[in-house]
Symmetry: C2
DNA sequence: CCGAGTTTGTTCTCGCAGTCACAAAGTCCG
DNA sequence: CGGACTTTGTGACTGCGAGAACAAACTCGG
């Protein structure tokens, strides 16, 4: 009865809401943590607590994937982990390249969370001559000009940009040109990419500014409540 | 006529939607970029393009702050910049401490975007003895035990956590205990904090996994469209 | 001084996301 | 073997956010 877009065979889900997609990795991490503690099964309440969300929301999110729980019992940790990993698509490793091996790029290259969660850094690229050939996190830094060649050879579809803002758009253009269709951008710049290419942005100073806004309001409120007293007596 | 919560003198705004708050820093950056190019005024259309959003959304967002534009003309770049900065609360610098001076912590300490956008890193803390006294980004790494003392002395209300996941909750607890009320968390762990404390989370592997999900779907769709052809002929 | 043109600020509508509450479905004990 | 209990999965409701469209307000040229 849907918009007749074929293949209604064994995938009753499809079209998982974006908000849910963003939480699935959180659930996956919580499940991994439970598995590490040798917990074989858990209720939605427990898993929700471990993931830091509401249990109803968790159940609804999981229901988009299918019915992988058992009523009256809960979820099997390993089984659910696999199902989520399969849905996200991290049952096999994704090759990733990092462009811009400054402080942040080096930190990312060394970040174990990438390799342990379905991603494998296959190349580090930097345009600066003095970076060439240096070894970072066990990988040799290669010239930016090699981008297309590496992407083609390693079948890379995900790229990380950690260059200064002015260079970000050029790097993005080159990535798209080379065939990359998903970009994680750490540069504080707006990227223009053609349709079909996904960009996610991580912006450190924006996060801090959002905190600052709330902090300002907290301070203003605190001041307001003291306002009645009009304390100005530092004359003692 | 609002819910009579005092002080209806010269602040007609208050209660800015969270989604808008998250975009204000983006607008601020776009404005800064325009100012750097000596552009004194701009329309909502231009600013929206620079910030990568819809112009209607931009105008709506700005309207929460007040009427700082001129109909028929547009916005004065400097004036609007100041108003946004004032609303966010970054007209003066916020002192920030960073706990966990590993690869990521060092990258954050060296990140110029912090200092140039309303934040000043006042201390770097790490629990590891071998880190003590080392100089990173012009600051000496101090023992984690000094946390409370530093927070009190420098009036710090914002803390950054860049320690491994297992230590994150302990660090958060200590921060809250010391009086910090806003936390930017880079550790892949769920933090439990009391009400009144804001936590924002930046999780690198989650961002990648979200990209992977979309990438999987792209691959699946591509396969689907080729399915009709059933190309298996690599026999040549 | 006035009208045409431009751009903001706001209203309205639609869709997505979060939460509550409950029926369905399974387990476990007597 | 049956009933009480537990927990999932889902339907209904509410509220926020995005976008389109329009009225208000300002500028500028004659």
């Amino acid at each position: 009865m849907n918009t007749g877009a074929g293949s209604s065979a064994q995938e009753p889900h499809r079209d998982i809401p974006e908000a849910t997609v963003a939480r699935l990795p959180v659930y996956l991490r919580a499940l991994t943590s439970l598995a590490d503690r040798n917990i074989a099964s858990c209720s939605s309440e427990e898993l929700a607590a471990a993931a830091g969300v509401n249990s109803a929301k968790l159940r609804k999110d999981l229901s988009y994937l299918g019915s992988y729980g058992t009523r009256g019992v809960g979820y099997d940790v390993d089984y659910l982990s696999y199902q989520i990993a399969r849905e996200i698509g991290v049952t096999h490793d994704w090759p990733v390249i990092i462009v811009g091996i400054g402080n942040l790029g080096q930190a990312l290259a060394n970040f174990s969370g990438f390799s342990s969660r379905g991603f494998r850094t296959v190349a580090l690229l930097d345009a600066a001559p003095q970076m060439q050939g240096r070894s970072v996190a066990g990988l040799e830094v290669r010239p930016f000009a090699d981008l297309a060649e590496i992407v083609a050879a390693e079948q890379v579809s995900i790229g990380v940009i950690s260059v200064p803002a002015p260079a970000a758009q050029d790097v993005a253009d080159a990535m798209v040109e080379a065939g990359i269709s998903s970009i994680l951008n750490f540069a504080p710049a707006v990227l223009n990419v053609p349709a079909g290419v996904d960009v996610r942005k991580v912006d450190l100073s924006i996060e801090l500014q959002i905190l600052a806004y709330h902090e300002s309001r907290k301070a203003a409120e605190a001041e307001e409540t003291v306002d009645n007293d009009s304390e100005e007596g530092i004359t003692a």
